[in-house]
Structure formats: C-alpha cells, structure tokens
Symmetry: C3
Subunit: 329 residues, 3 copies
C-alpha cells in the first residue's frame, strides 16, 4: 500500500520527480486523470487552502471529494490501542479507517500537533493509525510531525524562481505570533529544502528548537543531495545574502524552558523591510499562510514584489495533483 | 473583471435581460453550460436555500461547487486594511481571496449585515474586499447592503405571474420578528422592482427606515424604467389594490430612536388574511424565506392559493443559473 | 410519491428484492445509473458512515449529493403544525422541504430519537413531516423510529454469509454504553431480520424494552416470512447456538422504571469471547458502528475472525445504491 504521510515516503529522488512532473503539468494539464476516483478528506482541524486545493484537484481531474469534519459533522475518533472508550471519542480509527476505505479510493487526513509534547507529536499517532489501518492510499493534509504537501509547494516555488535548488542559500526564520503553533510546517520545509539540496539556514530564539529526529532526517536528506542544514539564534546572520526568506511562527520546544506566552516575547523577529533588505537583492519571500499581518510579517513585506505567497499557495494544487495521481494509480 | 455584488452591476437593462433569459431557460434548460467550472462558496453566515440552489446550479450545469464555512470549517477572516492581526481573525482577505482565485473559476460570498450601524453596512466592507482582491468573478449570496439574487428571483416570480412589470403596483410591508434582521432583502426588492418599472409602495412603522442611499438608487432605477418608489407608515394604505404583497421583517434604523426589541412592538403588522384581502383580488403573496410562521405571517396566508413563496424560492435557482453562466463566460 | 422512510415501505417481498439486487450489483456494478440526479442530504445529527456511503453512491453513480447540516451550516427547523415560531427554530419544514424539492431529485434525512419519550419517537414526527411535504422521494438516513438502510445492510451481510436467511437463528443482544442511545437500530434489525424470515432472539435487561408497536410489526413481518421474534432477559440463553451475534447499546424504555444511568449498570452484558463462544461455531459478529471498544464490545471480539463489522458497513453502500436507484426511477 503506497502512502504519502511524510517526506520519507518520497525521499530525495522522489522530491525531484514530483517537482519535475508538477512543472510539466502546469504547462500542459492532464485531462480527467482522476475520473471515477473518490477522495475521502478527514479533517480533525479546520482548513481553507488545503480544503479548497484538494477538492479542486479532484474536481478538475474528473473525480470527487467527500469532506468529513471530525468533531464537527462527524464525532471524535479514538486512536489509542486498547482504550476503554468511555469518554467523548465515540469511534475508534480501527473501525473508521477501514470502513472509509470501503467507500473511497484515497484518504486524506488533517490532524494538528498537540504542541504540548514534541516527542508525542513526532511519533504522529493519528497519521500512523490511518496509514496502518487503511486499505487505500493515505495522503497527509498536515499531521503532528509534518505538512509534506506544503514543503513540496514551498520548494516548487523556489525551483520555479531560481531554476536550480542545489546549493541555493535559503533561510527559514521563526516569527512572533499570538499563540504557539505546530512545528509541522517548519519541519517540512527543512526536510524538503534539504532533500532538494538547498543550503538551509534556520534562525530562531533559544528555546524554540525543532524536533531533533526531524533535524537529523533533514540533514541526511541534505547530505544525499549536496545541501546542508544549519541553525543560529542570530536572525541577521541567517538572512545575510540569502535567496529565500521563509517566515513561520511556531511554539517553544515542549516540554522546555519557555512557556506558551514566549511566542509574544520577541517582537523584533517580525519580518519587516529591514530584514528583507539583508537578503540577496533578488530574494523572494515565502509564508505558508494563513499569516497574521503586522504580527508575524509587516504589510510592507507581504505587499512587496518579493512576496510569492500567492504563487506558493497555488503550488499546493500542483503538487497535490501530482501526488494524488501517483497514489491513485 | 465582471462581478455581480449589487444590482448596479446589472442596471435596469441588465435586469430585463436576466429575467428574459431565465424564463427562456426554464422552458429549455442549457446543457453542461458550466462544464469544467468550479465555484468557491464562502459562507460567513448560515444558509439553506442559497447553499442548495447555488450548488444545484453548478451540479446541473456540469460544474462543481466547493463550500467553505468561515468560522466553522474555516477560520475567521480579517478585512480591515492595516490591521494588527492579534485577535481571533486568523487570515486576511488580502491573502484568502487571491489564493481561492487560484483554485476556482468563480467566487460566491455570503456575509450578513452587522445591524448595528446602517452606514457601515451600506458601505459593504466584506463584499467590497472580495470584489477588490478577487482575480475571478465574484457573485453575492447576500451581503450587508443587498441580496441581489433574491431581488431578481422576487421580480422573476412577479413577471411570470403578471407578464408585464412596468407600472404594476407592488407592496413591500414590514413584518414583526423576534430579533432585528438585516435590510439586504428589502433593499434588493426596492432596487429590483424599481428597475423593473414597478410602482413600489413600502410600508413600515416609523423608526424602521431603509438606508437613504439605497432608496435614492432605487428611485433612480425606477425613474429610468417608468416606475416609482413611495413610503408610508400606513400598512392598509400601502396594501390597497396592490397586485403583490411582499412581507419582510427587518430591524430598526441603526443608530436610531428604537431599540432592537421594537421588532416585537407592532404585532398588528403581521400579515393575516385581513391584510391580504385589502390587496387586489388576484394579488400574490411573496416572502424570501425563511419565514417565522404566526410571527411574521399567519398560517392562513402562507397556506393560501395566493402564496408563491415556493415558486419564488425555486426562482433563486433560475436567476443564479443565468448569472453564473454570464460571469463564467 | 415513493419514499423509503421505514421498512413497511418495502415489506417482506421488497426486502428480498433489494437483497437480491444488491448482491447482483456487488458482482456487476451499474454504470452512471444516477447521472443527472441530485440528492439533498439533510442532517439533524452527525454522521460518518452514512454521510460517506450515501455521497459515494451518488458520486459513483454519476450523480451529486448536496450536504446540509441543520443547526450547523443551516438553521434549526420547526416541524410542529400551527407553531408560533418565536423560539430558536427559524424555518418550518412546510417551507424547507418543498423548497429543497425544487432544487434536488431526492431527499435524504437523518434525525435522531429524543430518547425521552418512546411513543413520540415511534410517531417519528420529523421523518413524517418530510414524507408528507416532500414533492420528491425521501429516503431515511435514520430517524426516531427506524434506521432502515442499516437493517438491510445487516441482513445483507447475514444473507451473504449463510446463503439462506429463512429459519436462521440470530441474536440481538443489548450492550452497555456511557449514555442512552436511540432504539432505531435495534428496531430496524428486528423488522428486517423478521421480514427475512430469521428466528430473531432478543436479549436485554428488564427495563430496556423496545417499542411495542415495532415489536408487533416485526412479528407480523416474521410470520409472513416463516420467521419469529422472541425476547428474554437471559443473555446466555439467547446466544446459545445462534449463528449471528448482533450487539447494540440502547437506552431504557422511556418513560420507565430505569434512569439514563442504567446503561452503565450491567457491565457483564459487554460482549466478550465468553459470550461469542456460546453461539454456533460458525457464528458471525455484527455491530452497526460506531462501537465503543471495551465498553460495548471487547477488543478480542471486534478483532476476531468472526467479526463482520467492516463488511456490514460496506453493505450500507450496496443497499443504498439499490434503494436510490429505485427511488430515482
């Protein structure tokens, strides 16, 4: 059973293949390549881009998407083996997942990190349960550990702008927020940009470390592709001469020395024209969206010609089209 | 970029053209006229008729609708320029709208009036933001100022019944309710019946004035089409000999002399057989629905042969089919 | 107007016809048999299997489903005749139902029992209102009285396993839960297994009686098909040598001697390996799902080779495909 629940399901060679095919299909779209296929989309958490882009892929490909909102139109799901189900979770994934597999051809799942224990989130229990119990291919729409379609859309945007990703200096910088956000998006940028051979520089204040298992994996991918992954707590240093400025808020390492309110404690990390000016003169600005304007990033940056955030969001469609086609074969 | 966010986007000539085409297509429906088209439907407020009728238009036309519920499955959207987004609105329309435009071919938006400041509602900030930032055509599913598809469905029902709308005496009467409702529907009836050349009589208790900018615009449309728009606080006078009795509850002018509880203060305005008897013997009864039976309108009126409320609701489908076809070209 | 809102709409002969056709179509699926058809799905209560299986039937048949969540994306509906609608129900079914019939070709409705008055639930007011006011065929996705598609899926699973249902000893056993659940599923199993000629044994603790009107009806169906329906409060006796063990939790008879907490008072009724061992050596285990593991049924039973719960859920698709095809003709 093929799944795409994490970047390791593709590996560095797979990343290059997906990017090449996505670019080719942007020029010459496939016709009715998903005819007769049904995608079941299971949302444990809300969504705008993900919902619309996946559903659009299915509709444009001649297929159909069924949207199920767990805890909204659908009850809550239990994922712990052996649980005595006497609380508020009315159905176990051991039933829900194989049942859905009888109705649909592909399953897409969105489930956010707890943000309270990074090790638990790294183990990715809900996404693992779907992959384990599903009889049809599963694709991640973001899970506790990774948001792999986002990472691919990010790197596709970079590849389209600069042609070659190998050796390209790119910067992922932490940004302030009003609440602690999951680390899935920064994890996926690390893994994907590493696998694409970029020289990835990550900047964050002390106490906001990403998960060491993901960092190790990203370094392995980078090594295999001629890239590297380095860390600093000096934002200026990380931006110096970089070709890509990727801003993203995430919560402190958990458990760790900082409390959740630390996300508001470094307002000078907000990306403004000053920071963008440190990067290369042809640098582009990326953000996965949604972005809190004037909290994470200033209006001047988002509205500047350097910003590619709308193209980056459009690329979600293109990488997902390619991945759903691959999984549906 | 063509939009349909208010009646002025059509004007009196456009109104006649839409009605003629809608009638023609009721007899001879178009086939697969929306094949390959995706409509993104963004709901800031709930819906039954609107949701079902728009989605049915897309499905019957061979297209597809993606339904996004803001604040439900989707987070809340910010529309204020320059906002520091540190509250509960997680995404700005400056990102959300152009991103959706990359996935869909048409955008439909529903957003209710605040009912606390008629001037703010008249400026229609959310609908304006969608029209300003969208790269694809936008259609209103009701906004703070107008509900233009409803107005067209209302007047289509009148045109089908009486053939000619020019010079026809029609009455819009205020009705009691349990809470203050938006003025978008009465605004659109005024504008559309005016543009169709009706002699529109509006009756409401003092303190429930509609917005003066909308009233002026309706009078201009009426003048261009040989109609007129007049106001009275005498319900009986407004009904006398009228061919159409349109009942609708709305809230007091805001800010104004009356509090929100005033919607309960005029129970004798409820439309009963007594009121219907004042109208012409062949008069029809209209209401946009949902209607609170025995609060706004008595059972005897809704269940009488004069009632056309179900046909009127069906006509939402027919005008929307025509408008989506026009916008999708 | 044809509807399928209760098993009596089919009767014993209809049950056999549906099962035969469903089995035939599992081998050789129909193509585009629902092309151009729209199903409106109205949910007063949440759903996973029902939502996904009905929508999948429409999509695979070339049709389309519109999903409306009452009280979620849609306001609450009033069903009482003559009501003064001054509370929280914003629209009456007398408008909502015929309006939807103008947009769609078929209506599906889900509405749960109150569980506070079994006589009221037996009268099935919401489903009756839909059947009475609809101008298009209505299909039940579970109502206060019955869940007829579930009953058919249950008996289809039995028929596929054992070939012949006439005279087959099958057991429906009450199971513990954390809250009182509706009786629609046990009612439908009684009615459908009876109509299929099974020897239906029902076991429950005293005070958990099913509705007498449903029991009478099931006995009539059974008589017509050569089956029978018997009751006991001795779970062991009911299981002895049975070929089917169907576990289901439901609430106490209401009003009745037991309070809602009684659903937790009989933990020994939970289905474990011990109970399964009393049944025939080739007995299968059924449950309509969702199931609370280790509350209603132990892991060992659900994960045993005797369990057919996933096949049973798949059969929802097959019976519904046949029924929608029949209603759409």
């Amino acid at each position: 059973m093929r799944h795409f629940t994490c970047l390791a399901d593709l590996g560095p060679d797979g990343v290059h293949a997906v990017l090449d095919q996505a670019i080719a299909w942007k020029r010459c779209p496939p016709e009715a390549h998903l005819a007769g296929k049904i995608l079941g989309m299971v949302f444990f958490n809300p969504s705008l881009r993900t919902r619309a882009s996946f559903e659009a892929v299915m509709a444009r490909g001649g297929g159909h998407a069924i949207v199920l909102e767990v805890g909204g139109g659908v009850w809550k799901l239990e994922d712990r083996i052996g649980a005595v189900m006497d609380q508020d979770r009315a159905e176990h994934v051991r039933e829900a997942v194989p049942v859905l597999g009888r109705y649909v051809d592909l399953l897409a799942v969105r489930t956010f990190a707890s943000c309270t224990n990074d090790d638990d989130d790294e183990r990715d229990p809900v996404m693992r349960a779907f992959a384990d119990y599903s009889t049809v291919p599963v694709i991640s729409m973001e899970s506790a550990r990774e948001h792999p379609c986002q990472g691919l859309a990010d790197v596709l945007t970079i590849a389209e702008t600069f042609g070659e990703t190998r050796g390209l200096p790119v910067t992922l910088t932490w940004a302030p927020h009003v609440k602690p956000l999951p680390k899935a998006v920064p994890h996926s940028f690390l893994l994907t940009a590493g696998a694409a051979g970029c020289r990835v520089r990550v900047a964050h204040p002390p106490g906001f470390e990403l998960h060491p298992a993901v960092v190790s994996e990203a370094r392995e991918f980078a090594r295999a592709s001629g890239g590297e992954v380095t860390f600093t707590s000096d934002q200026d240093e990380a931006l110096e001469g970089s070709r890509v400025v990727y801003a993203k808020a995430w919560g402190p390492a958990a458990p760790g020395p900082l409390g959740p309110e630390a996300v508001r404690a470094f307002p000078s990390w907000r990306i403004e024209a000053r920071q963008l000016a440190r990067a290369a003169s042809d640098a582009i600005f990326l953000h996965c969206l949604p972005v809190r304007r004037n909290v994470e990033v200033g209006d001047a940056v988002l509205d500047s010609p350097a910003s590619r955030v709308i193209d980056e969001a459009e690329n979600r469609f293109h990488v997902q089209r390619m991945l759903l086609d691959w999984l549906a074969r």
